[in-house]
Structure formats: structure tokens, C-alpha cells
């Protein structure tokens, strides 16, 4: 099915009345997902945003609760606020990233209401990639640059119109508001061509998890991380990184408990009250980072926690390239223990 961009734009503008609509916007130095009021504000031709759209479910800084002390008494109030949201223009890598985050924020015992309630009230309109950046490597993880996995409604740009794929019930509810038409044979051919594309850059991860099973004590970690500065760019720009810190912001007798993004690369991340730190150097922190994404997460959740969006590669100040890091692990010699 398809819809002309003009008609889609009109429907989009009508949705703004019922939903908070988030879409890619050019902010001068790149693309950012921002709330928009009209389709004309949306940047339609873009590679991907600088920061991943995870922030709409898991903001960098969010209030969990607030409290007020009066003498010895205290009153506590949840600060969970949820809105009906549409995320438009989500790339397949990021849509997959959200599916992975879903597994984190709802584990075998707990559901994180702050993430989940927002997530449940959000509709993801995915947009297939027709251009592929040199840092993209999503095909390594069985993600197609024009794949609809993780989206509720999925669009492919055909020039004057979008091909529309209804993926979920939520997507169907939105699609009902669109005047859809049939694709022509030529358009179908174009869609097929776009859908069959792969990222030119791919890494082989077929044996990475089992290889890493045996690499905890490998000397590979000794030199791998020498050039890493230990900043948080890779984690903050990652669509699947989910580590956070909880702290308190206090003013006189009132305060809020907030959570903020944190990262396993931060030296104080695992520092105990006693002064002991199980990951007190970059080597152990890098091992954790790679193991978590390519081994622990696989064992716990059945898939790798990397979607090949390439943001960490693009943003790294010292050009640490996760593709090379994984490749190096694949090739590293095993030490006999």
C-alpha cells in the first residue's frame, strides 16, 4: 500500500492534535528527534539522528519521585507522567534497539513503569533507509536497512509517496486514518529493491558470543583499550545502552529522586562504599562493555545488544571502532588456562 506525501502530511498534521509527535528535525549541527507540530518541520531526507530516540522512553534525566519533609514526617509522590506519543521517522536500527531495551526494562522479575508505560503509549512509525552511511553495519545483526521489525507502521520513501506497511495492531489503528492506495508494479519493484539492500559494511558475529565465553582472561583486553579516553560518548549515543544512576536533588526540605544516564565506562560506576572497585580500570570496563553487548546480553536475552547504527563509531573522539573491536575478538588467540 502507499500514500502520497501530500496526503500523509495532512494526516500527520491532524495527528498532532491527539498525540505528542516526535520527528527528526535539523538543528543546525545535525539531526535531532524533537517534538513537532507540523509535517513541514520534519526533515525527510536524513541518515540518522545524532542521539538515539531511546530518550523518549528513557530520558537522560528524569524525575522518578518527589518528596517533602515536614519535621520527621515525609510525603512521597510518584512523578511518572505519560503521554500518547508518535515517534516518526525511526530507522530500523533504532526500532530494533527499542525491542532490545524492552527486554531490559521488563525482566523476569520487574517491570520499569517509567519506561514501559511510555513505551506502551507510543506508536513507532519506522522509515526505511534508502541511503546507507559508511558507518552503518546493521546487516551484521540480521537487521535490514529497510526492515520493519520493531516499527508499528513502516514507511519507505518512494519519492512523491510512501510505501506503507502495517506491522502491528497499533500501526493498524494509525493506518486507518490514512487514505491508502495500491502500489503500481514499478513502485513494487522499487520497494523490493530497497528492501533487499544490505549495509556494505558488515562484521561477522556468528561465533563472537561463543568466542567471548572463553575470553574473560584473554590478553586481548590489555591492549584493546589503550587509546580509549573513557568518556561516555559511545554509551550515550547507543540505542541499546541502558545504564543509569539514581540520585537526589534537594532544596531545603523538598527534593526529587532522579535518574540519569550513566555508563559502564565511568570509573566510579562500580565503586563500592568500602572503596573496593571490581572494575577499577579501563581494561575491565572495556571487557564489560563488549561482553555485555555480545555475550552476557545474548545469554540473558537471546540476542546481541548492538544494532549496528554506527553512532559510537562516528562520535568517538579517538576513532575506537566497535567493528574492529569485535573483529579483533573474533581473531584473538585463546590462552590456555
Amino acid at each position: 500500500m502507499k500514500i502520497s506525501k501530500e496526503k500523509f502530511g495532512q494526516a500527520f498534521d491532524a495527528l498532532v492534535a491527539d498525540y505528542k509527535v516526535i520527528a527528526p528535525v535539523s538543528d543546525g549541527s545535525g539531526i535531532a528527534f524533537t517534538e513537532v507540530k507540523s509535517f513541514s518541520d520534519v526533515k525527510q531526507d536524513y541518515l540518522n539522528s545524532k542521539l538515539p530516540p531511546k530518550a523518549f522512553f528513557f530520558p537522560q534525566h528524569e524525575k522518578l519521585m518527589s518528596y517533602k519533609k515536614e519535621g520527621k514526617d515525609v510525603t512521597v509522590k510518584s512523578e511518572l507522567k505519560v503521554e500518547n506519543t508518535i515517534l516518526f521517522g525511526i530507522r530500523p536500527c533504532d526500532a530494533k534497539g527499542m525491542l532490545l531495551l524492552d527486554k531490559v526494562f521488563k525482566n523476569d522479575q520487574y517491570t520499569d513503569p517509567y519506561y514501559y508505560e511510555r513505551r506502551e503509549k507510543a506508536v513507532i512509525i519506522g522509515l526505511g533507509c534508502t541511503k546507507i552511511a559508511p558507518t552503518c553495519f546493521c546487516s551484521s545483526f540480521e537487521i535490514s536497512p529497510a526492515g520493519s521489525e520493531g516499527s508499528d507502521l513502516f514507511l519507505i520513501d518512494l519519492g512523491d509517496s510512501y510505501e506503507v506497511e502495517v506491522v502491528t495492531e497499533k500501526g493498524k489503528a494509525l493506518a486507518d486514518r490514512l487514505a491508502l492506495a495500491e502500489l503500481t508494479a514499478d513502485e513494487q519493484a522499487l520497494v523490493d529493491k530497497i528492501k533487499s539492500a544490505e549495509t556494505p559494511s558488515k562484521i561477522d558475529v556468528s561465533n563472537t558470543t561463543s568466542k567471548l565465553d572463553k575470553m574473560f582472561n584473554s590478553p586481548y583486553w590489555d591492549t584493546l583499550q589503550e587509546k580509549c579516553l573513557g568518556c561516555n560518548v559511545c554509551s550515550f549515543s547507543c540505542p541499546t545502552c541502558h545504564c543509569f544512576d539514581i540520585s537526589e536533588e534537594v532544596r531545603k526540605n523538598e527534593g526529587t529522586r532522579v535518574r540519569t544516564w550513566d555508563a559502564c565506562m565511568a570509573p566510579l560506576f562500580t565503586l563500592h562504599g568500602s572503596g573496593h572497585n571490581p572494575r577499577d580500570n579501563k581494561k575491565t570496563r572495556w571487557r564489560q562493555r563488549l561482553m555485555h553487548k555480545f555475550n552476557y546480553f545474548v545469554h540473558n536475552n537471546g540476542s546481541m545488544s548492538c544494532v549496528g547504527c554506527g553512532r559510537c563509531i562516528k562520535s568517538c573522539p579517538v576513532n575506537m571502532d566497535i567493528r574492529q573491536v569485535v573483529d579483533g575478538a573474533n581473531k584473538a588467540e585463546l590462552v590456555v588456562e
Binding site: 559508511p134 587509546k227 576513532n319
Partner: protein
């Protein structure tokens, strides 16, 4: 250029083979076009990866104190100035350090290219010309067009401190620094400046790439991580971000060697240097001091004279 690369490799090979150092810190070709990446050569067999060109933008002095053992470092002017400050502050043992000095004509600011031709697919540097194939088109640049803002005002392209110098040295103008960029901002109204920095600070995501890339940000516990007292809340907004950046810049006042590593490391394109440059200008004009131009001497804020200017005092 090729000769320098060979010289660097020969020197590194010699130092490692003779056991004079345990590691040579230099650059190798990065995984992306026009990107170099820091490289640690531990054995003579690895030295052939070492390179040197206009893409070697990182300040390697950042690594020196954190790398155990005896080390050699490929140092351009700004790297050597950072080493000088680190030595002044007793952060390094001079005997454990071998400085391979190279003169630097400046590094490429990739952002200028990406803004015009999109993500870079391929690029080549030839004879001062940079030809780029981008996702949105191809273009050929003169190096001068792409020179990083820091390098355009650089007064110390030659290392101030070195054990060997490889390649030619660069003639330097003897004129006093002009600080045109700072003056341009100073001439704006306070309101305009406030707006400018508000906009810059709202971009910051507090990833601390600037801090970590900085060779002189070596505190064991940075004030942003400090728990008691807790200087910053967990908040990421322009007010908190300005607190962080202003606190950091004041801590670097009189020490900053204006290498631009912070600004280049910033994934969000925050103009951090605008703050540092203001301090550099003030320190130069008020105290006639430039950081890290020799091994001896002290950072500007560790010294004083009895007649330092004090126009900043209240009128009463």
C-alpha cells in the same frame, strides 16, 4: 611527509629495539576516511603502522601519565606544551619520557567537510589538497580551507620540548597573539553573549569527552563526580552544563595550552574553546603568561606579582 613517517618509524623501532622505551605512543590510520587514531606500539614489529599527517588530531599527552613504564610520544607543538605543563605540575617523570618532536601545520576540521558533502566515503590528501567523495557530492579542498580553528591561531607549531626533532621546523610569526575570536565575542553585548553560551550549553550531553580528551584534566576525582560536596546535580540542562564547563575552564585557566582537543572531541559541536580562549587571553594580557612554553616555570595561577591588576574590585 613520507620522510617524516619513515623517520618516526625508524626512531620508534630503534627506541623499542634498544629497550629505551616500553611503548611508543603515536598515530595509525583510523577506520574512517581522514581519521587517524592513537596507536600504542609495544614492539618493533608494530612500528610500521605509525603515521603522521594532517589527520593526527588527538593530543597524545593525555595518555602519557596513564601509560605505565617508559614511553616515547610523537608530539606536535600543542602536545609538547601539554607535556611541559604536566612536568611543571609534577605529573610526569621526565626520565621516563622520550619526546619525538614533529612540527605541525595544523589538523583538518572534518566537520567543515561533512557539513558540505555529507558523510565522507573516501578521501585522499595530496600536495596540500584534500579530495573528498561524500554521500552528498564530491569536492576538492585546499588544506587551508579545512584547517581547524585552533590551528589557525597556533603560535607553537614546533614542539617546545623534545628529545629529537624529525622533519622540518615551521617558521613562526613573532607577533603577539591577536585573539580576534575572543574580541569578536567581547564586543557583543552581555545579552548576546549570554544567548550564545545558552545555545552552546544546551547542546552539551555531559559525556565528558572534552574532559577526558584534555591532557590537563587529570584529577583523580573530577568535581562533577564528587559526592560530598555534590557540586552538580544529575541534571543535564544548560545551567548545569554551564556550571560544569565554567568550573572546568576555571580549573584550566593559566594551564590550558589551547590544543583544541576538547572541542574536537565534542560529539555535539559545543564551542568549548570559546571559554578557554577567553581565559587564555586574560592570562596573557593581565599576567603576560602563556601556558606550557617551557619545562620550567609555573602555571599562571600558581604565581603572583604584588601589582597584578585589580580593576575587578568593588568601587567602595
Amino acid at each position: 611527509m613520507n620522510n617524516i613517517i619513515n623517520d618516526i618509524r625508524d626512531k620508534a623501532r630503534q627506541l623499542l629495539a634498544e629497550g629505551k622505551v616500553d611503548v611508543v605512543i603515536g598515530y595509525e590510520k583510523g577506520s574512517l576516511p581522514l581519521k587517524a587514531t592513537p596507536f600504542f606500539a609495544h614492539s618493533p614489529a608494530e612500528v610500521d603502522s605509525l603515521i603522521w599527517d594532517e589527520t593526527c588530531e588527538n593530543n597524545l599527552a593525555t595518555y602519557v601519565a596513564k601509560t605505565p613504564g617508559k614511553k616515547a610520544i610523537v608530539a606536535k607543538g600543542c602536545d609538547s606544551r601539554a607535556l611541559a605543563v604536566l612536568l611543571q605540575e609534577n605529573q610526569l617523570v621526565r626520565d621516563d619520557l622520550y619526546i619525538i618532536g614533529v612540527s605541525c601545520t595544523g589538523v583538518i576540521d572534518q566537520r567543515k567537510i561533512v557539513a558540505e558533502v555529507g558523510e565522507i566515503l573516501e578521501a585522499g590528501i595530496n600536495d596540500g589538497k584534500i579530495s573528498v567523495k561524500g554521500m552528498a557530492g564530491d569536492k576538492e579542498y585546499l588544506f587551508a580551507e579545512l584547517k581547524d580553528a585552533t590551528c589557525q591561531t597556533c603560535r607553537y607549531p614546533n614542539p617546545v620540548l623534545e628529545d629529537v626533532h624529525l622533519g622540518e621546523t615551521i617558521a613562526v610569526s613573532q607577533e603577539a597573539p591577536a585573539f580576534a575570536d575572543v574580541i569578536a565575542l567581547e564586543e557583543q553585548s552581555a545579552g548576546e553573549r549570554q544567548d550564545y553560551f545558552k545555545e552552546q550549553m544546551s547542546k552539551c550531553i555531559r559525556c565528558y569527552a572534552c574532559r577526558n580528551a584534555c591532557p590537563l584534566c587529570y584529577c583523580q576525582e573530577c568535581f562533577v563526580d564528587c559526592n560530598s560536596p555534590r557540586w552538580l546535580t544529575g541534571g543535564v540542562n544548560r545551567a548545569e552544563n554551564l556550571f560544569f564547563q565554567a568550573g572546568r575552564v576555571l580549573h584550566l585557566a593559566g594551564r590550558c595550552v589551547d590544543c583544541g582537543a576538547c572541542t574536537r572531541a565534542c560529539p555535539q559541536g559545543v564551542d568549548i574553546r570559546a571559554l578557554n580562549r577567553k581565559m587564555t587571553k586574560d592570562v596573557y594580557t593581565m599576567y603576560n603568561h602563556e601556558a606550557g612554553i617551557s619545562e620550567d616555570g609555573k602555571p599562571a595561577l600558581n604565581e603572583y606579582t604584588t601589582n597584578d591588576p585589580e580593576q575587578f574590585l568593588v568601587k567602595e
